[in-house]
Symmetry: C2
Subunit: 186 residues, 2 copies
C-alpha cells in the first residue's frame, strides 16, 4: 500500500545532478499539504524521501485515501495533461523531501528525453493497473480479509499509518475497522 518507483527516482537524481537549474528540492513536515484539492499548480513532484497520503475529500468532508506514496512516486503530473485543477490532496505523513519540476521543464523533458518520457508512461500505467484490482478486491471482500491482505503485503503498515488513515484507505469508518481488528484478535 506504500507505492514506490526506484527507477524513476534514480533517473530523476541523475537529471538533477547534471543540471540543477530546473529542478528544486523542497522539504515538508508531517501533516503539511503539498497539494490541495481543486487548486491549480505548476509543479510536478517526485518523492526523494518520506511518505505522503493522496486522498479525495467529498462535500461532507469524508476522505478517501487513494494511495500512500513513497520514494520515487510522482504527483501533480495528471494535471499537466488534463489542464484541470488538482483532483486530490497530497499531504506529508512523515518528514518529506521532494524534487519539484515546473510544468515547462516537465514538458521539455517529456519531449526531449526519451528515457524520461518512457519512465513517466510506465509510472502512469502502474497507477492504472494497481488501482483497479484494489478497488475490486475491497468491494467484494469482507473487511477482515482486506486487513489480512495489507498485513501480508505491508507488515510495517501500523508503524507509518494511523488507524484513522487505514480506515480511510479501506473506505470504511474507524468503528468498523476496530470491530474487524478485534474479530481478528490483532
Amino acid at each position: 500500500m506504500i507505492r514506490t518507483n526506484p527507477e524513476l527516482l534514480s533517473y530523476t537524481e541523475t537529471i538533477y545532478h547534471s543540471n540543477k537549474h530546473h529542478i528544486n528540492i523542497e522539504q515538508y513536515n508531517p501533516t503539511e499539504k503539498i497539494i490541495e484539492q481543486n487548486k491549480r499548480y505548476n509543479w510536478v513532484y517526485i518523492i526523494k524521501e518520506g511518505v505522503t497520503k493522496c486522498y479525495l475529500s467529498d462535500e461532507k468532508g469524508k476522505d478517501f485515501i487513494q494511495e500512500f506514496l513513497g520514494k520515487g512516486m510522482e504527483f501533480g503530473e495528471i494535471e499537466v495533461f488534463s489542464n484541470k485543477p488538482s483532483f486530490c490532496c497530497i499531504e506529508a505523513i512523515t518528514e518529506l523531501i521532494v524534487y519539484k519540476i515546473s510544468y515547462t521543464h516537465f514538458n521539455n523533458l517529456l519531449e526531449n528525453d526519451k528515457k524520461f518520457n518512457k519512465l513517466i508512461m510506465k509510472a502512469m500505467a502502474e497507477k492504472i493497473s494497481y488501482k483497479a484490482p484494489r478497488h475490486s478486491y475491497q468491494q467484494y471482500h469482507p473487511i477482515e480479509e482486506n486487513i489480512l491482505k495489507i498485513k501480508e503485503n505491508f507488515p510495517e503498515f501500523t508503524e507509518v499509518v494511523s488507524k484513522n488513515d487505514l480506515a480511510k484507505y479501506l473506505g470504511i469508518t474507524l468503528r468498523s475497522l476496530n470491530r474487524a481488528l478485534s474479530n481478528l484478535k490483532i
Copy 2:
C-alpha cells in the same frame, strides 16, 4: 460512464489512412471477448465503433466492471509498459469495430510520433483521474445517489447496459440495485 476519446480516435484514423500496413481493423459481436484476464497479448486496441465493458473477475467469479469504453478509448496499452499479462477482461457489449496495433508498431509510434505520444499520455492521465473520484463517490454515497448521478450524466445508460452490468459497475448485487431502484420509483 461510457468513456470516449474523440481526439485519439480521429488521430488514429489519420495514421491508419496514411499507412495501412501496421494497423488492422477487426470486428466483434456482442458478448465476444477481445481480451481475457491473465493472458498475454501483443496488441493495443482503439475503439472505432461500439461499446465494451472492462472488468475484473475475482477468484469467486464475481465481476467488478471498471468502465464502459466507447469510441476512441484504447485498451491493452497498460501491458505494453508493465510487461505483465492482462489484468482485466474486455468484452464487446454492442457490435464492435476496433483498430488493432502491434506492440512493435505502438512503440514505434510512441517514439517517433510526438503527437501520438502526447495523446496516449493524455489518455492514461484521464483514466487515472476519473477512476479515483468515482470509487471515492461510490464508497461513501448510498446506492440511490449513485444511480441518480449516473442517470444525470448518462441518461441513455439503460439502453446499452443491462441491470446486471450496472450492478457490477456499482460493485453491488442485483438485489440491492433493484431495491434502490424501487425506492427511487424509477
